[in-house]
């Protein structure tokens, strides 16, 4: 489709939906109560479209989109693009959850409360932690919540002077950014030659100013840090807390647990490991697990059970308070519960094992492609993902990793390079999860191989890709020019007119 913008489709007078009519006895002019300054004068310049025109527009846009359901979606490494079971979507679509108001009396919400209560126990068992908050809206919000709890913990002990947080470069940028936002100085550890965060650097960095270590394991490279317990100990030794970013937990379910390595806090992304759909970038859901010492600081309310009924407990004086409205992204919490319930302990372990098998199989096949490598820990296995490098290919052909990804889009798949900075040069991060079959992985490798070969044979075609997508290469410079960028149609028209 070459679908125009909604605004270009507008046809004055058309209606997409009609609000309920005003019945006799209701005052059609009630809005005239408003003071003149607060009364809208001219209608909003929204487009005017019949219902099927709106529908058609968005259906066409949907077809101009990939999605985990449509493609072999293993190219968004660190994102754990696993299958989100359709049955779980349908379970949450009915009015028994969709039309539930968060301020209802607990008596009228016993079903959803029981699910939240059970989900918390499941995640506590999976992480080894004592309690789990389901309130954060996604992974970064969970990191923020953990940082907030860390801050509250230290303050409660009169150690508010601790003003440094340590993280690693292969941990998600939100670890550094949330700590900074909370007022901490951020110390970032870089990998040693083996790709592990540098333990000596950590030991040099810790002090009585250390509030916490925020660390991922396996990191975005897929390499499990075998000395992780030593990292935790080093931080504990100076009175700091250890916080485990378990966004990448898919390879270790039932294999190893955050608490067992001594962590005080951890978080999961329920939209990653626990299968809730990624939704173009949310709504998602995050879960923060904490040890007993941190429990008083959990966001409020918590879900409690008195043996007969479930209820929300808002009376938590040491709590960091609310990190989002109400009790969390309930539909995703129900989905995550359903997913765990459908697999059980044995199933979760199989998820981890097959995710790891898929990843190592994929790595074996990918490394046969000309110009690619998997930096660090040569010859060692990876857990659930691998950060590859096209450095050799780039040097030999001038084609960059990003270009290869664009060209892959022409074949109906894609990949994501990596978070900045590109510590691994010309990166590409693949994470096959447990959801894709051997056949799928082989197809993906074949596409990557074809694209790489093309880079050697006909680099221009790759560099100027995509060619078969809905759209062609952006002229990126506009996006950083305040005089030209256009975040809305009204801004675009204004700037265009000014030209």
């Amino acid at each position: 489709w070459d679908e125009p913008l909604l605004f270009e489709l507008s046809q004055p007078g058309q209606r997409g939906i009609l609000p309920p009519a005003l019945e006799p006895g209701l005052a059609a002019d009630a809005a005239d109560e408003l003071p003149a300054a607060l009364r809208r004068e001219r209608p909003a310049a929204l487009p005017e479209l019949a219902q099927n025109a709106v529908l058609r527009h968005y259906l066409r846009l949907s077809q101009e989109n990939l999605g985990a359901d449509l493609n072999i979606d293993i190219g968004q490494g660190t994102c754990t693009m696993k299958y989100s079971p359709k049955v779980n979507d349908r379970l949450v679509a009915g009015h028994k959850l969709a039309a539930l108001h968060p301020r209802q009396d607990d008596e009228t919400a016993q079903g959803v409360l029981e699910i939240l209560w059970r989900l918390e126990r499941m995640l506590a068992e999976i992480s080894g932690m004592d309690r789990v908050s389901l309130q954060p809206g996604a992974g970064s919000a969970a990191i923020w919540t953990n940082v907030a709890m860390i801050r509250a913990y230290h303050e409660s002990r009169g150690e508010g002077h601790r003003d440094q947080v340590i993280t690693t470069i292969f941990s998600h940028p939100s670890n550094a950014a949330c700590a900074k936002t909370a007022g901490y100085e951020v110390i970032t550890l870089y990998p040693d030659a083996d790709g592990y965060p540098d333990l000596d650097a950590l030991k040099a960095a810790v002090s009585d100013r250390t509030a916490a270590l925020l660390i991922t394991n396996p990191e975005d490279t897929g390499i499990f840090n075998p000395r992780i317990a030593e990292f935790v100990e080093a931080v504990h030794a100076v009175g700091g807390l250890a916080c485990y970013d378990q966004a990448n937990a898919n390879g270790v379910l039932g294999i190893t647990r955050a608490r067992d390595a001594g962590f005080d806090l951890c978080h999961f992304n329920l939209h990653k490991t626990f299968s809730t759909p990624h939704a173009c970038g949310g709504p998602a859901a995050g879960a923060c697990g904490v040890s007993a010492e941190l429990v008083p600081f959990l966001p409020r309310p918590t879900v409690e059970f008195d043996g007969e009924r479930y209820f929300l407990d808002d009376d938590r004086p040491e709590s960091v308070g609310k990190v989002r409205p109400f009790t969390g992204v309930a539909p995703n919490l129900v989905r995550a519960y359903s997913w765990i319930a459908s697999l059980g302990a044995e199933g979760l372990r199989e998820v981890a094992e097959i995710a790891v098998l898929n990843n190592n199989y994929l790595m074996t096949q990918m490394l046969k492609i000309r110009g690619i490598s998997a930096p660090y820990a040569k010859g060692r296995r990876r857990i659930e993902q691998v950060r590859y490098s096209w450095e050799e290919l780039a040097e030999e052909t001038g084609v960059h990793s990003e270009d290869l990804g664009h060209r892959a889009a022409d074949y109906g798949v894609h990949y994501w390079t990596s978070h900045h900075p590109y510590v691994v040069p010309e990166p590409a991060t693949l994470e096959p999860t447990e959801s894709y079959s051997k056949r799928d992985l082989d197809e993906y490798v074949a596409i990557m191989n074809a694209v790489a070969e093309e880079a050697y044979a006909d680099p221009e075609t790759v560099r100027t890709a995509p060619h078969r997508s809905s759209v062609h290469l952006n002229k990126e410079e506009t996006l950083d020019d305040a005089g030209a960028w256009a975040v809305t149609w009204r801004a675009y028209r204004r700037k265009n007119a000014e030209r």
């Binding site: 989109n65 959803v112 060692r380």
Partner: protein, 441 residues
């Protein structure tokens, strides 16, 4: 038994893949995990419900224990609203292509970029502002960030609160702004970064003094940050018209079901000035030319602002938030159009007026702000019984009464926040009044 979610669990497949990797068994892949960290027992979880039918019965059965706002007649609001959700909104946001996509490039996910940019643009028209972000988690996060933005833009550290706010929002702000922004104090002074104004206020009032608060903030060299529920903007003037610098709030009203609090997403809007734009932590999609003349492409505006680009050097932080609700709100606004939004606003105010009048006539009830305009919510004070008692009695009659304010707003007495939507018929409102009359008799 091979699980439908794990294709390669088939033993033969597993074996052939292991062989290709040269590993003897899967344990080999875990060689880096020290034995001391290994969990050598199965997780203690309930037995699995592998059959889809068993799962549906279990989870569906639990959910059936809830009484929803479709089962009861509800007057709950206070930040989450049961407005009508057009079927087309649900249709679009349940499309596999949108529901299961994530963070693809503009090329393979052109549709997602366009849909979110169009959302920004539609909100821009409703707000009459040129910059609107890709949604953040919720209105709380949007408000917290808007206030931090105000502080960064002005280089000042205090935000005055001109109107009563949701105590839960206050809790979020206390946590999120700690060490960066202090809350409270007068709309005055050279430390004033901004005044925050609820429009309507948490208690439902469209306060006629709002423009004067904006003026006062500007006079002190601060910004005016207006929090609003966009559902009212068909009849309420856009905050930009009376000088708001930053507008923020929640879009849950625009096509999202309440979902027990799962339908929230936050917006932040500003003028198109670099000093504002550069302070957004969230993504801003922009229209951009491509290598093909006349083609619209989309990409990230001023990406270097973000923590994705620069980690702790970025503004605050950004991650997965609530994009699908942004797309949905776009569908909602496209369906409603200018006339729909106006009619809806008029309908809300008409119903609100009717209910206020009805309740004001009941013995044992007072409407403290009866004389002020309300969009869809207003405070009801019971002179005799407690709100808890009234609500319990109403619940018996299949009605969810208003949200109890007694604890959070003790100065209001035994008060509750009643909310109407366009879904309430006149008969519904009359029924509430009749039942309340009985309950209070």
């Amino acid at each position: 038994m091979e699980h439908p979610y794990i294709p390669n669990a088939v033993p033969e497949v597993k074996a052939s893949m292991l062989a290709a990797t040269g590993a003897a068994d899967i344990e080999e892949f875990y060689a880096d995990i020290p034995e001391s960290l290994r969990l050598r027992r199965p997780l203690d979880l309930p037995p699995p419900l592998r059959g889809e039918a068993e799962l549906v019965r279990h989870v569906g059965g639990l959910l059936d224990r809830n009484t929803s706002t479709r089962d009861a007649l509800s007057f709950l609001g206070g930040g989450c609203y049961a407005h009508h959700v057009p079927a087309v909104c649900d249709e679009v946001n349940s499309r596999s292509e949108f529901l299961t996509a994530y963070a693809g490039e503009p090329y393979e996910d052109h549709g997602r970029f366009q849909a979110l940019w169009e959302y920004q643009s539609l909100m821009g028209e409703l707000l009459e502002m040129d910059v609107v972000n890709v949604p953040v988690y919720d209105g709380f996060q949007a408000t917290a960030t808007a206030l931090r933005m105000a502080a960064r833009i002005t280089g000042r550290g205090r935000v005055a609160l001109a109107t009563p706010i949701d105590p839960d929002l206050r809790s979020k702000l206390d946590d999120y702004l700690k060490g960066a922004v202090t809350l409270g104090g007068p709309v005055d002074g050279d430390d004033l970064a901004a005044v925050y104004i609820g429009y309507p206020t948490f208690l439902g009032v469209v306060d006629p003094r709002i423009p004067s608060h904006v003026e006062a903030a500007h006079a002190a060299g601060g910004l005016a940050v207006v929090g609003c529920d966009p559902i009212g903007l068909g009849v309420l003037a856009p905050p930009s018209s009376f000088g708001a610098d930053i507008v923020c709030g929640d879009i849950q009203s625009l096509g999202m079901h309440p979902q027990y609090g799962g339908g929230h997403a936050g917006f932040i809007a500003t003028r198109d000035e670099e000093r504002f734009v550069e302070e957004f932590p969230s993504r801003l999609f922009g229209l951009v030319p491509t290598t093909v003349d006349g083609e619209y492409g989309f990409g990230d505006v001023a990406y270097e602002r973000t923590s994705f680009a620069r980690r702790e050097q970025g503004k605050e932080w950004v991650g997965t938030a609530a994009a699908l609700w942004g797309i949905t709100a776009g569908v909602y606004l496209a369906l409603m159009g200018p006339t729909g939004m106006r009619e809806l606003g008029e309908g809300l105010m008409a119903r609100c007026r009717h209910l206020k009048d009805l309740l004001a006539g009941i013995d044992g009830i007072e409407i403290p702000d009866a004389g002020l305009p309300h969009l869809k919510e207003f405070v009801v004070t019971f002179t005799g019984r407690t709100v808890a008692e009234v609500n319990a009695a109403l619940r018996e009659r299949g009605i969810f009464g208003g949200h109890d304010l007694s604890e959070d707003f003790p100065h209001l007495g035994r008060s509750a926040l009643y909310c109407v939507t366009e879904l309430h018929t006149k008969a519904d409102l009359d029924r509430l009044a009749a039942e309340l009359k009985e309950v209070l008799a």
